[in-house]
Amino acid sequence: MTGARAFGVLLRNEWFKARKRLAFWIALGFYAFFTLMNHGQPFLERSEGFRLPDIWNAVFGDESTMVVIFAALTLVLLSATEFGWRTARQNVIDGLSKSQWFWGKSLLLPLVGLAFIGVHVLIPTALALMRTDFGAAEGPLVPLSVFQAAGGLGLAFLSVAALAFLLSLVIRRTGAALAVWFLWIGPIESGMLPVLVRRFLPDYTRWLDYLPFSNTFPLLEFRNYDAATYERYAAAVEAAGRTPPPAVDPAWHLITAAAWTALLVGIAFILFRRRDL
């Protein structure tokens, strides 16, 4: 089993195992409910900005952090259990090479990402469509910057999920992998490391923005992809008597996210190949 056929088999098997798993649907359903609740109030109140194309600023924003976290949690759930059940070992006994098993499992990163980001984008978009006056809309309803923001969100998810994936394969226990992952994105990356770097390496503080989780924040904001949205945002902040933060060019953060993804998945691959199942 090689090449395209192997890819097809691995993809079909991973999707088959995921779609038959109740935990996957519960996690996705819970996120769909969360998204619906989040956008339900402005939808019911017919809020001013709850229509196309204004909705994109609400779709790609701070709340996108939740989709990254939910999807990464689900990824750990779907990958670490293969070790507890010893099905990873059985898949190899049944004829997959260890490399094939690894790459098959890594297909969960885009699969899970697509499912959760799909829910994250489609629910508010569908609601906003119902409130959109197509005759009155100025400019395209779905500008190019939406695709850029969606790509940024996808890459942000991949970089954070790659860390979760690495921990799943190294620790091989769902609870412990999740605990270490939360420990990293919370107390370590957002608490301990900044304190240590500011104290002992003050010249390097700007590099903190490029750590796996911190690097995702600029990628989640729609205003970083859309100049007009940034101008509106800056004007609103100024009107409130505050100084707006400068516009962030997401290019370096996109490159960094891609680099983190490649590095973390690469380390996971090397460690997985070297260890016994």
Binding site: M1, R5, V9, R12, N13, F16, K17, K20, R21, L22, W85, R86, T87, R89, Q90, N91, V92, I93, D94, G95, L96, S97, K98, R274, D276, L277
Partner: protein, 311 residues
């Protein structure tokens, strides 16, 4: 044709301190096509580690092996497509049904999903095909594992303790399936504690102890090379066993079917009879019998300690 060939195969598990554990030590065995090969050894002797190395889930730390003549990673990967195997306990997705678990296996093996109905029929799970694995009894799980090994009609079937934890009826079912596979001409590599069954089913055996090969050969060679004395008495059988144990050159004496069986080395029955009479024990039965595989195993590996699951 040689199906499995290991040369000095070794595995040392790393430890934080010291040299670690040498689980398999310079193991060299050879399995030919069509053989039903029993792989025996006490608990912790390295059987599962050896099978794990053959199946690609454990990385060897020394030596080499060939499967179907192939040795390179690509050749071994291709060879493993011709193997059906289970290792230790049945490992399946608990939330999937028996049939869906076999679907996953069939896809991995590149096999037709039509095989699934056939193998479920063979192992007697056709009517339980929709039962989730987590709801299966241990016997059903073992049978499902056997069914999985048969998907894709493999040439070599490797079974590691396929009847572990089963009641006598379950063991009998598993034994019948293995015999059927052997009858179909499959090469079978069987690691088992069921020495009586191994003796009845296998054509060849290898015995390993603390990771080293201590004996390899046909079952006939192993069992006919030694004879045991069977001694019966109308009185206290335990006193007889005790007395026989003290006979010069006697091996491990055990009671079976109301008789004491013992390896007596070069001595004859008349000497044993005289010895017992000298102790005031008069045998009601005295004969030489071919040694069972279990006797041979006990003699080769020493004591029965560490082999607590003989069935």
């Amino acid at each position: 044709m040689t199906i499995i060939e290991t040369e000095g195969l070794s595995k040392r598990y790393a430890a934080l301190r010291g040299d670690g554990t040498l689980a398999v030590d310079q193991l060299s065995v050879q399995v030919e096509a069509g053989q039903v090969y029993g792989f025996l050894g006490p608990n912790g002797s390295g059987k599962t580690t050896t099978i794990g190395m053959l199946l690609g889930i454990i990385n060897p730390t020394g030596g080499s092996f060939r499967l179907f003549g192939g040795e390179t990673p690509a050749e071994l990967h291709a060879a493993r497509q011709r193997i059906g195997a289970t290792l230790e306990y049945p490992n399946f997705y608990p939330y999937l049904s028996c049939r869906d678990n076999l679907r996953v296996v069939a896809r991995v093996k590149g096999s037709d999903e039509a095989d699934i109905a056939e193998v479920l029929e063979i192992v007697g799970l056709a009517s339980r095909r929709k039962t989730k694995f987590k709801a299966c009894s241990l016997g059903m799980k073992q049978r499902l594992a056997l069914a999985a090994t048969m998907i894709g009609d493999p040439e070599l079937i490797i079974l590691d303790e396929p009847a572990n934890g089963l009641d006598p009826a379950g063991q009998r079912e598993i034994r019948d399936i293995i015999r059927e596979l052997a009858r179909r001409g499959k090469t079978i590599f069987l690691s088992s504690h069921m020495l009586h069954e191994v003796e009845r089913t296998c054509t060849h055996v290898a015995i390993i102890e603390t990771g080293r090969l201590v004996r390899e050969g046909s079952v006939d060679e192993l069992t006919s090379a030694r004879t045991v004395a069977a001694v019966g008495v109308d009185g206290d059988i335990e006193a007889l066993r005790q007395a026989v144990s003290e006979f010069e050159g006697a091996g491990h004496a055990r009671v079976e079917d109301g008789r004491v069986l013992v390896q007596i080395g070069g001595a004859g029955l008349s000497e044993l009879n005289r010895f017992l009479a000298g102790r005031g024990i008069y045998a009601s039965h005295l004969s030489l019998e071919r040694q069972s595989l279990e006797d041979a195993f006990m003699e080769i590996t020493g004591t029965p300690e560490g082999f607590g699951e003989i069935q």
